[in-house]
């Protein structure tokens, strides 16, 4: 499964901010870390701020701060801000063939599992997974 670039950037940003609670992290720092343009990242962060997931502070020492509950905010909550996971499964349009219906059923099943998976993994759980992965890395 492939997420859109904005979605991936949003997830990276959320995890970056959540890993540094209470700290205002400059957007430029996140952009440099993930090789993204500041302009592109700013759009993503603006959406996260509108959703109440991050707070922004302007000026010297400013930046973005994680504002949500890491034990309740899930990956699906973030993903849904940027894309519709159900869009991959084609609706049975008028004139659809039995193959269309059957294929749609299989895709819907995959979509349901994907949503349940994203909806079950909180930011706190992800941070734990990241930490374990870092320990395993040479």
């Amino acid at each position: 499964m492939k997420l859109q670039k904005n979605t991936e950037l949003a997830l990276y940003s959320v995890l970056e901010f959540a890993a540094r609670p209470g700290e205002h992290v400059p957007a430029a720092e996140v952009a440099a870390k993930y090789g993204e343009s500041l302009h592109h990242l700013a759009k993503v962060l603006s959406e996260l701020a509108r959703a109440g997931i991050v707070d922004s502070v302007r000026g010297v020492g400013g930046g973005y701060r994680f504002a949500a509950n890491p034990r309740r905010l899930t990956l699906l909550d973030v993903i849904r801000l940027f894309e519709d996971l159900g869009a991959a499964a084609p609706a049975a349009a008028q004139g659809a063939t039995p193959v269309d219906h059957a294929l749609g059923q299989v895709l819907a099943e995959i979509d349901q599992i994907a949503q349940a998976t994203f909806g079950s993994i909180t930011v706190a759980t992800m941070l734990g997974m990241v930490e374990r992965a870092a320990r395993r890395s040479p």
């Binding site: 109440g52 034990r71 309740r72 849904r80 801000l81 940027f82 349940a116 706190a124």
Partner: protein
């Protein structure tokens, strides 16, 4: 941003993003096997969470997993003084579809007022310890895909998708 569901996403994020700060659990929380005297609180807790009062069902569960549960069946409660904060039920199941003995957790409830304070974590740790004692090396559970709260709890404990995939078939007359 090309968002097709921005409002829904925002609502979900706000709902999830609002920090919940439950009252702290002060006195010591103890996890132990259930006792007959705990049942009224267990039944009340289940009714609070599910909306269904199932006294007969819980008496049967108590007989099977409480009184009769030793070694392979466990009905545990987390208590603080006389107050039941939560419970968990599990058992060792062996050779289902060729699977070596594994620990199955099939019920968990934590008082909504005592959530996010490690009660579920303590219950699962106690259950895991009992399973490990009899040589079990895999812990399993099965959850509703539309229950993100309980799914995320087990995820937070390190559980991931396993090699078994649940399937179901609607049988009998369908409305």
């Amino acid at each position: 941003m090309g968002s097709k569901l921005p409002q829904e996403g925002r609502r979900a994020a706000r709902r999830s993003g609002v920090a919940e700060r439950p009252a702290a659990v002060d006195a010591e929380v103890v996890v132990r096997p259930v006792r007959q005297a705990d049942l009224p609180e267990v039944i009340a807790l289940d009714a609070t969470v599910t909306g269904l009062h199932k006294a007969d069902y819980w008496q049967r569960v108590y007989r099977r997993y409480g009184i009769g549960g030793q070694g392979l069946r466990h009905f545990l409660v987390a208590v603080q003084g006389d107050r039941v904060l939560g419970f968990m039920i599990g058992e060792v199941r062996d050779w289902e579809f060729g699977s070596p003995p594994c620990g199955w957790v099939f019920a968990i409830d934590v008082d909504p007022r005592a959530r996010q304070q490690g009660v579920g974590t303590r219950l699962l740790a106690a259950m895991r310890e009992r399973f490990e004692r009899v040589g079990v090396r895999v812990l399993r559970t099965m959850l509703a895909s539309d229950n993100p709260l309980i799914l995320s709890f087990f995820r937070s404990q390190g559980m991931t998708a396993g090699r078994l995939i649940p399937l179901e078939l609607a049988i009998g007359p369908q409305d």
